[in-house]
């Protein structure tokens, strides 16, 4: 065979190799997308579709005509407005309590040797692993009129009358704080661990007192973890159902319960779905605000490194 024929064969085979490679890459992409499809389908069919259907439902009045009457109702009727304000009050109180209780703990843990901190972290995570319902039940036993706390306080002569700790806002806030605290401490602790302590040493060597170094160096460096934990807690609180239902004693109606009540007590699907859409919109709004604050506060600056 001549040299030119050889070359032509080589060229042809190279072209077919390139084609095979391209086909291979295409098949590879299809296989990978296909592998992720069962999971995506699960979320689409069991969440996106049902929630989308609620959206759709909220746009019709009782006679089946398209209208915004459900939204007008939830934004004008006092019961619904109350549930908005209760949701906001409870979520904010619990978030602030988590900051007050969790920040010092996360700080101390981040200062301790890893082995000790790991052990104490197990104590923080213990509630995380026990069921929300079980812990809510435990708080009911502790806080009710004839509960452990009232009984002991009376026994010790601290109080003469039982304090109203359960079946109200106080009980709800205590129970929810207990449930949310691990969610708050975990990201904050991780963020604090990653702060290089050399900055604190530098501040000390420049004459800053430990307190001053803590407030001017450490706290600003931990703000990102603090914000992440706070927004997570706030968002999770907004959709809470179990704890307010049990510890609120019917007096603390947050949005999730208002939705449940609209359906089980009044069979008002229109209002329930509109309320659901409002809850989801508020969740997204809070997350967006969180992301925005994150962007504004933590823009990488040139001089940082």
């Amino acid at each position: 065979m001549s040299a030119s024929a050889d070359a032509a064969v080589a060229l042809g085979s190279r072209a077919s190799t390139a084609g095979a490679l391209r086909r291979d890459a295409r098949r590879e992409r299809r296989v990978l997308i296909g592998l992720s499809m069962p999971a995506v389908a699960l979320v689409l069919v069991f969440m996106v579709l049902p929630v989308g259907w609620l959206f759709w439902l909220s746009l019709f009045d009782d006679s089946g005509a398209v209208s915004l009457v459900n939204y007008v109702r939830i934004f004008t009727k006092q019961t619904y407005l109350n549930s908005f304000s209760v949701t906001f009050t409870v979520s904010l109180t619990v978030t602030l309590l988590c900051i007050g209780l969790g920040y010092p703990v996360a700080y101390l843990l981040s200062e301790l040797p890893r082995r000790v901190a790991g052990l104490l972290m197990a104590a923080v995570m213990l509630p995380y692993w026990t069921s929300v319902l079980v812990r809510t039940y435990a708080w009911l036993i502790l806080l009710q009129r004839s509960g452990l706390i009232n009984e002991w306080a009376q026994h010790l002569g601290l109080i003469s009358e039982p304090l109203p700790l359960a079946n109200n806002l106080t009980g709800t806030v205590i129970g929810m704080t207990h449930i949310m605290l691990p969610f708050f401490i975990l990201p904050l602790y991780a963020a604090m661990r990653s702060i290089d302590r050399i900055y604190m040493t530098a501040a000390a060597s420049l004459g800053a007192s430990p307190t001053r170094a803590f407030w001017t160096i450490f706290v600003p460096l931990s703000v990102q973890g603090l914000a992440a934990g706070s927004f997570l807690v706030f968002v999770l609180c907004m959709g809470f159902y179990v704890t307010p239902a049990v510890l609120g004693g019917g007096r603390v109606i947050m949005m999730a319960q208002q939705i449940e009540r609209s359906i089980t007590l009044y069979s008002n699907w229109g209002a329930a779905s509109a309320l659901g859409v409002a809850l989801l919109a508020m969740t997204v709004l809070v997350l967006a605000i969180g992301a925005l604050i994150g962007k504004l506060l933590f823009r990488p600056r040139g001089g940082d490194r």
Binding site: V31, L32, I33, G34, L35, S36, P38, A39, V40, L42, V45, F46, M47, P50, V51, W53, L101, P104, V105, L109, E111, L112, A123, V124, L126, P127, W129, T130, S131, V132, L133, V134, R135, Y137, A138, W139, I141, L142, Q144, L148, H178, R197, A204, P210, T211, F214, F218, M238, G239, Y241, V242, V246, I259, E260, I263, A272, S273, G276, L279, T283
Partner: protein, 269 residues
């Protein structure tokens, strides 16, 4: 060395404060356990008389037994649903360079952010046309969806440390993708997959809201029955069930830790 950062006096306050907060976290989580052994009809701490009567009531009541069985079945099914699909998705998104990667990841973690009550109410309608309303598999699929993000996030974290080139090497030597995954990649991320399965199981077992809306009658889960009877009265039987759930969760997590440490030790030998 920490004294250089926080004054000695303040440090003591910090230690005491942390102690109080940890007490606040731990004690209410486990106080039900000793109380459940109370011999009287009231829950006391410490119990004046000890007995197993509330455990006997639990085991002796057909409804509680049936609810426990339903809960365990659903939790196992949820693991079988969420772990393979979530792992496959995490693997696919790690290996692919598709433009839709971000969008797909967003869809897969979204169930963590949508309030459960919304999903419950939506599914209450949607399961009808799917012929899944008030069925075991319907609730299991819903739980699988709810816990899918945990699997996806954990396995993705595991895969981010794993060099995909080793799998490519196996495939270039003639192994199929499936074989390469099971012999090369999966052993590397075993811990993450195992941990994800533990979380799915416990989360499904504890789930209340979806069960409340989607499973009635004989399909009532344990937590649904507990929640409903909690609203009426304080039944000490619930303390016994709660104690079992607490011990079960802690045991599963500890066993997993133990297993993982054993594996790490094996590796170092």
């Amino acid at each position: 060395m920490s004294e250089a950062r926080v004054g000695r006096g303040q440090r003591w306050w910090l230690v005491i404060y942390t102690g109080i907060v940890l007490f606040f976290l731990v004690v209410p989580s486990i106080i039900v356990v000793p109380m459940s052994f109370s011999g009287s009809t009231f829950l006391e701490f410490p119990p004046r008389t000890w007995s197993l009567r509330w455990y006997e009531t639990y085991v002796g009541t057909a409804e509680w037994r049936a609810a426990t069985l339903v809960s365990l079945e659903i939790a196992c099914l949820a693991v079988l649903i969420a772990v393979p699909t979530g792992t496959a998705a995490a693997y696919a998104l790690r290996a692919s360079n598709s433009a839709f990667k971000g969008l797909l990841a967003g869809i897969l973690v979204s169930p963590t952010l949508v309030p459960h009550i919304l999903i419950a109410v939506g599914l209450f309608f949607a399961l009808g046309p799917l012929r899944l309303s008030n069925t075991l598999i319907g609730l299991a699929l819903a739980h699988g969806m709810l816990t899918l993000p945990f699997v996806f996030i954990l396995v993705s974290a595991g895969l981010s440390n794993h060099d995909m080139i080793t799998e490519l090497a196996a495939r270039s030597l003639g192994a199929s993708r499936l074989r390469a995954f099971f012999t090369i990649t999966l052993p590397q991320i075993k811990n993450f997959v195992g941990f994800a399965a533990v979380i799915v199981f416990i989360t499904s077992l504890d789930e209340v809201i979806l069960s409340l809306f989607l499973a009635t009658g004989t399909l009532s889960t344990l937590t649904r029955r507990m929640f409903l009877s909690l609203r009426d009265e304080i039944d000490p039987t619930i303390a016994a069930i709660s104690s079992i759930l607490i011990i079960l969760s802690i045991a599963v997590v500890c066993l997993f830790q133990f297993w993982e440490q054993g594996r790490v030790a094996e590796k170092h030998e």
